[in-house]
Symmetry: C2
Subunit: 341 residues, 2 copies
Amino acid sequence: MASIKDVAKRAGCSATLVSRVINHQPGVSEEKRERIQAAINELGYTQNLLARSLVLKKTNTIGVVLDTLCDEYFFSLIEGIEARIDHYGYDVLFCSGRNSPRKKSNYINFFMKNRVDGIIIYGSKLDDMAFIEKLVNSGFPFALIENDVGTLNANNILLNNEYGSSLAVDHLFDCGCRNICYVAGEPTIQAAQRRRIGYVEAMKRHGVPESDLLILESGWTEEEGYETFRKYLKSRGKRALPDAFYFGSDQTAFGGMKALMEAGISVPDEVMLVGYDDDKPRHHDLPYLPLTTIRQPLEEMGRAAVDILMEDLNGSTSGKKKLMYYPSLVIRETTCRKQES
Amino acid sequence: MASIKDVAKRAGCSATLVSRVINHQPGVSEEKRERIQAAINELGYTQNLLARSLVLKKTNTIGVVLDTLCDEYFFSLIEGIEARIDHYGYDVLFCSGRNSPRKKSNYINFFMKNRVDGIIIYGSKLDDMAFIEKLVNSGFPFALIENDVGTLNANNILLNNEYGSSLAVDHLFDCGCRNICYVAGEPTIQAAQRRRIGYVEAMKRHGVPESDLLILESGWTEEEGYETFRKYLKSRGKRALPDAFYFGSDQTAFGGMKALMEAGISVPDEVMLVGYDDDKPRHHDLPYLPLTTIRQPLEEMGRAAVDILMEDLNGSTSGKKKLMYYPSLVIRETTCRKQES
DNA sequence: TTGTACGCGTTATCAC
DNA sequence: GTGATAACGCGTACAA
């Protein structure tokens, strides 16, 4: 690979002038500029960003670490990040933790070794907390989405999951439901815990004593939801169902819906369903009913993450920022206001 | 940020020893090793990969450039790449051209400036050919998926689109269809042209004269497919439909299916449908019929791209490699063998 | 306008 | 086992 010196030699000048030409800086005579440009073309020279960033102590790049790249759920977030980053003239690099905390922290470490100026990290399992703490102590600029670091001094973009649960429960009460079962999942995920707490609080607010609460434990995939509901329906026999199920995740809800439909139970007439995430079914072999759900403003959060990180990078603000976003209710066909009888 | 020299000073030794410790190399006394490790922890030192890669002339990283990160279609490809890359101990960085050829070439240029050791590029619009040529001439290691560069000397992983079309047409003939309309789209996409050619050839092989061929032009999104079919159905009035439609893309097929169902036309009884890509509907508000389609071995291609690139990087082979993959037919519910009458 | 000299943080070479 | 030293390719004071 041709270096800046090779170009200089060929153009018959010093590397300084070549550097100026590459970076569109003034202070080069037209004649030299042309000769240098010609030499660049002849040699097929490209700037070595490694060396450049090394001396500049700046890469003009930010890294994004997600749990996986293969989940539609992240599309809005990615679009938000991409849309906003151009505004700052930065490049974005994405990588995936492939659903492994170890891989994820590996990639964060990779980025921290001066490969990027700042990192945007989505979510995390609870057991990553030690890692997050190390990250905070390192002083490396980053913004963390959907993982509450509490009092730790970090840029933190959060979603109010308790509020989401209250939206769901309130809506179901509006629809005339009283006996609402929560389908919980993945206790290692922070959001899952919060949604569960939100459910309990909302039910209590509606006057349901905690001892009357129904909670079904399930994994958060469609398959697990399906299995959970098959067993649940089987074990109940002919006993009456709750008025409604509120699922901590849409995927679980799709699985549950499938099991209910197969059992001949009519949604929303016999039982109403509310999910969480505004996600889509992964399978398409069934006529899934459009699911009432809780939507998170992911695109907006992606843009905010970029903005916050850039502020941090430019040192325009001193402290770290915490932002709280609120989800909204999306009413579809698995819930409906029942006729007053 | 603490540098290797800071660590050396604190540990009371030279940078050389610190380097050995970081890179797990032998030739350091146990005593020094411990003192260095302690200094590293106290200073919160992290290796600067920029400097390391600069001197090593190697980043141990490959870059992947896709048209977009927000399309399920790429999931298998991404998984294939990720699954295989670990085998080589490399890191992968993804970035998206955001469906803009300019952005895409920007990112390729970015990667080429010594940020990665090699690049995997998916697809391309036909008008990128000039850019591809530049890329080839640069000598930078890369593998190009789904874009035939012809005689250009490049690692090229291809899909036989003509073969896919012949699978579709043959299957429809098997189902008793004779009058098969091809729904073409996006002439700027190489694959679209090939599929069209494949359709024409297959029909001719079945004895249908070229002048009898039916081709409907349409964009490749679901919305465009829907609009195309609404207009088409309207303009035809009561005249008979073809026996079948073969779509150059599943998305178009979903749109067409929607329009057909709305018009009260029964699939597959009145008309059969075959798509291409083994894609999923983007919308879920309709009970889409599982679509018979042509599936591409994207995961395998992703793995192959990594393998080929690594061979190239290690210089174990001299020339560039060309690989041709063949799609397969996936029979679902939009086609069926009709009863012999 | 132009060139020299130095430093960025790292690793490899070669003495000791 | 240990430590100078040079080199990677670049940007930038500073001097000319």
